[in-house]
């Protein structure tokens, strides 16, 4: 059916260059579940703290024997700052915030501060037992607290302000603290109302100097990160929870909801609010408050809906609209004004003033903006509550729109947290790739070999000092029992060929040879110039800088090394040759596609109802990276495509070892059951499948070429109106292990050229797998 010929003329539909979106729009009832996240979104966040410029926020910042009120003291950007003030308790005086960062991550804690009545700043993380004292008047570092920081620095910002930073390795819990000190040694004393001024704080993955953070424009402002992310990317389609409250866009984020993009992007229905703005009346809105007291006043000012408090906390406006259980809706709250000293609060829930869908309160000084919320209804009425958090009479918030729309399509979700796939962009299987002194890099010796020596601080190919010197002296022995090796064990996921690579340079002035990977691997040469050397082996299980007597290389190896990497040899070709990996959750994402990974245990997303009963034809295009030889469902209509009539399934791999399987059937289930040729995992594949019940078509393409076809009788009838399971069969079986970039489903047999366009789009998203 596909029979693709020359691709040169492809990509044009009806004389217009086709895109994935135009093809989807051409075929009503199409679906796109895209589990990939573009790189620009991944790079959005650097500062891991919330309310970085609002230390008065008590939800984000826990106050310990201290307060942090707004101060009129002029901050570096000309606005106000916060006066961190001790109380009379004889204990630490500090504020702190818990941050979600993996244990073992090197982070940099940065604080913009100025001396007040106290001269000293105390920065610390008690779980890591690491910190630093600073002199705010002298703008200098003092003694370390606990484990000495791996780096620290100060950079002047003028006007008595400076940015103070220290770097440390995280423990299981990460809780950076900002403390006041009156002696430059500790924060534990009887307070007398002493102050230091703080403007902002940030926590960054990696090591940064104070000057580097200044060069980036200062500490990145983060208020409520997820709200800000959704404001910046209003069409984002992946959420951590099944209700669509918290977006998923970073490594380790689980995916609980993938919004359908039926025409290539998220599609919204008609406006459901009868008075969405611009406003001429307050019709549809009522005044309310969460606490006893005077109700606020609702009024219209210059086409804006104004909510004015009358001296009571939480003076709000309320509205509601009907919902259908299971359908997904989007609410956008357009905020024009937050009066000085006021704060914005908004909630969305299934009960009056409820907040089971959304519960948010923004800090004072928050920038008016559009705030977008997506949620899946669990009730038949939705209640939206919004207005003022603050008490002062006359405080007001103004809104330019309150729009409510259904998010159209058939969305894939998973309510059980353990069953959600997780976003990952990991390619390099090593950890501590820039720190050979890390325990992950073992040293092994045997026979006449000496313990390898690993020395940091040598000049790297970029002129920095991040290269390591490695000395592996195997001694006089020349057998396999005489060795000196630097090794990192690698957990591999399949028997495929893997590529190891590393920058090397001789440190002796003479060319040297050694083996990369296991003993009897492939010899590589370190010359007097920096060179990236490669070797390939099947399932090596470890990365070795190997010096065995039996290999015959340089006996007393003395080389400089930099940026090691090991990955499947058939990895996408457009990826950078090196990926920095500090830990399994802290690694480079720029240039590496971020997509959802199914664990092969219990992960599964489900489209509750996909009505394909109107058609007996279907095209499915999926981008997958399989990590296992164990049978797995990528997508399957009905509870079992092997036995249920009107079903189809794409299994990677199928039941026949390492093949890819497609089956389609009407009244004769799975009659069109076909397998591609075997490919051992890990392997990245763009798979296209078509089924046509009436015409007995079952076809499977793999990486742009036809892989299998069948004309077996599929019987009669259409496909079912049923659940679509992604990553697992219903009943918790046949779990897929690996990544799914996207699944495109079209209820028709599309043309060969259209197929090629979609395949090319998926291939590009994956970084060119063929």
């Amino acid at each position: 059916m596909f029979g693709l010929g020359k691709l040169g003329k492809m990509g044009r539909v009806g004389g217009v260059r086709a895109t994935l979106a135009s093809i989807l729009s051409k075929y009503p009832g199409s679906h796109l579940w895209d589990f990939g996240v573009p790189a620009d979104k991944v790079a959005h966040r650097k500062n891991l703290l919330n309310y970085s410029h609002d230390l008065s926020n008590n939800l984000a910042w826990q106050k310990v024997n201290s307060t942090a009120p707004v101060s009129a003291t002029v901050s570096p950007d000309g606005t106000t700052c916060f006066a961190l003030t001790d109380d009379s308790t004889n204990a630490d005086h500090k504020i702190r915030q818990v941050v979600a960062v993996a244990a073992g991550t090197v982070v940099t804690f940065a604080v913009v501060a100025k001396a007040g009545t106290a001269d000293y700043l105390w920065l610390y993380d008690g779980y890591a037992n690491s910190g630093k004292n600073f002199n705010l008047s002298a703008q200098s570092a003092l003694t370390a607290i606990g484990t000495a920081p791996s780096a620290f620095s100060v950079a002047d910002m003028g006007g008595g302000w400076a940015i103070y930073v220290f770097s440390y390795t995280t423990s299981t819990t990460v809780r950076p603290e900002i403390g006041i000190s009156i002696d430059g040694v500790g924060s534990n004393y009887v307070g007398t109302g002493s102050t230091v001024f703080i403007d902002a704080a940030g926590l960054y993955a990696g090591t940064y100097t104070a000057q580097q953070i200044l060069d980036q424009g200062g500490i990145q402002r983060i208020t409520d990160y997820y709200t800000e992310f959704l404001a910046a990317y209003p069409t984002h389609n992946l959420y951590q929870d099944s209700a669509g409250t918290t977006p998923a866009f970073l490594p380790t984020h689980p995916v609980g909801l993938c919004l359908d993009q039926p025409s290539g992007s998220v599609v919204l229905g008609a406006e459901l609010n009868s008075n969405p703005g611009p406003f001429t009346a307050t019709t549809g809105y009522t005044a309310g408050t969460f606490t006893a007291g005077a109700l606020p006043t609702l009024s219209i000012v210059s086409s804006l809906l104004r909510v004015t408090t009358n001296g009571t906390n939480y003076g709000v406006a309320e509205m509601s609209f009907p919902t259908v259980v299971g359908k997904t809706y989007q609410v956008i709250l357009g905020v024009s004004t937050i009066s000085t000293g006021d704060r914005l609060i908004y909630r969305i829930g299934s009960t009056v003033q409820g907040y089971d869908y959304v519960d948010a309160s923004l800090s004072s000084g928050a920038t008016p903006s559009d705030y977008k919320m997506i949620f899946t209804a669990t009730g038949t009425t939705c209640y939206v509550t919004f207005g003022n958090h603050a008490t002062p009479p006359g405080s007001f918030t103004e809104f330019n729109r309150v729009t409510v729309k259904e998010v159209l399509g058939s969305h894939a979700s998973q309510s059980t947290t353990t069953k959600r796939p997780v976003l990952s962009a990991r390619v390099n299987l090593l950890v501590a790739t820039e720190d050979f002194s890390n325990a992950a890099w073992e040293t092994l010796i045997g026979g006449t070999g000496s313990v390898p020596v690993k020395t940091p601080g040598f000049t790297d190919p970029n002129g920095g000092n991040t290269a390591f010197r490695i000395q592996c002296n195997r001694g006089a022995g020349n057998t396999g029992a005489d060795y000196s090796v630097v090794r990192q064990a690698v957990s591999i996921s399949g028997p495929s060929i893997y590529t190891s690579s590393i920058w090397v340079k001789s440190n002796t002035g003479a060319t040297q040879t050694f083996n990369l990977d296991v003993s009897n691997g492939q010899p590589v040469t370190a010359t007097t110039s920096w060179t990236r050397v490669f070797s390939q082996q099947a399932a090596p299980g470890r990365f070795d800088i190997s010096n065995y007597g039996s290999d015959g290389g340089t006996a007393s190896l003395d080389i400089l090394v930099w940026h090691p990497d090991i990955r499947p040899a058939n990895s996408p070709t457009n990826l950078p040759a090196y990926q920095r990996v500090t830990t399994s959750t802290d690694y480079d994402t720029v240039g590496f596609p971020l997509r959802a990974v199914w664990d092969g245990v219990d992960d599964c997303l489900v489209v509750p109802t996909l009505d394909l009963s109107i058609t007996d034809k279907v095209t499915v295009v999926a981008g997958v990276t399989k990590q296992s030889s164990v049978l797995g469902v990528v997508c399957e209509l009905t509870a079992g495509s092997g036995s249920a009539p009107g079903s189809f399934g794409l299994l990677v791999p199928g039941a026949v070892a390492d093949t890819q399987n497609w089956r389609s059937g009407g009244s004769v289930p799975a009659a069109g059951n076909i397998n591609s040729s075997a490919i051992t995992p890990p392997a990245s594949l763009v798979l296209s499948a078509q089924g046509d019940i009436a015409n007995d078509v079952s076809t499977l393409r793999s990486n742009g070429a036809e892989a299998a076809t069948s004309s077996a009788n599929q019987g009669t009838g259409n496909y079912s109106s049923s659940a679509l399971y992604i990553g697992q069969r219903s009943a918790n079986a046949v779990s897929f292990t690996g990544a799914i970039q996207s699944i495109t489903l079209i209820p028709a047999l599309i043309t060969a050229s259209e197929t090629a366009v979609i395949e090319a789009s998926v291939n590009n998203s994956m970084g060119k797998v063929y």
Binding site: D241, S415, T417, D599, D602, N732
Partner: protein, 115 residues
């Protein structure tokens, strides 16, 4: 905030574990421990001896899985019951011990499935 765990519970203790997880995590916990496991080499049809789950678990539940006293208080059961339940569970961080390694250590495999 999530922690990524492998969670395995013996078959007799699984119903109670599932009730507790759902009580703490609500809808997000419903359906946890759904993977039936049997001793390696078991013939098809062998009843599951353990049930497992692997993935993101909310911090409030993680705390209970690591602290029998907290589990007892949250679930309204005796400390001895909580300790007994946790003794019937095998809990590891995914980063520290992948799922396959856990199964190998416990001598388990997934119950055979029809294709």
């Amino acid at each position: 905030m999530y922690t990524y765990l492998n969670l395995l519970v013996t078959a007799p203790a699984t119903p109670l574990a599932q009730q507790l997880i759902e009580a703490v995590a609500g809808e997000a916990g419903k359906g946890t421990l759904s993977v039936p496991l049997v001793p390696i080499g078991s013939p098809p049809g062998t009843p599951a001896t353990w049930y497992g789950a692997s993935g993101a678990i909310g911090s409030e539940l993680v705390q209970l899985l690591r602290d029998a006293q907290a589990l007892a208080e949250a679930a309204g059961i005796d400390l001895s019951q909580a300790e007994l339940l946790l003794s019937q569970a095998d809990i590891t961080e995914i980063d520290a011990e992948p799922w396959a390694a856990v199964l190998e250590r416990l001598g388990l495999e997934r119950q055979q499935e029809a294709v």
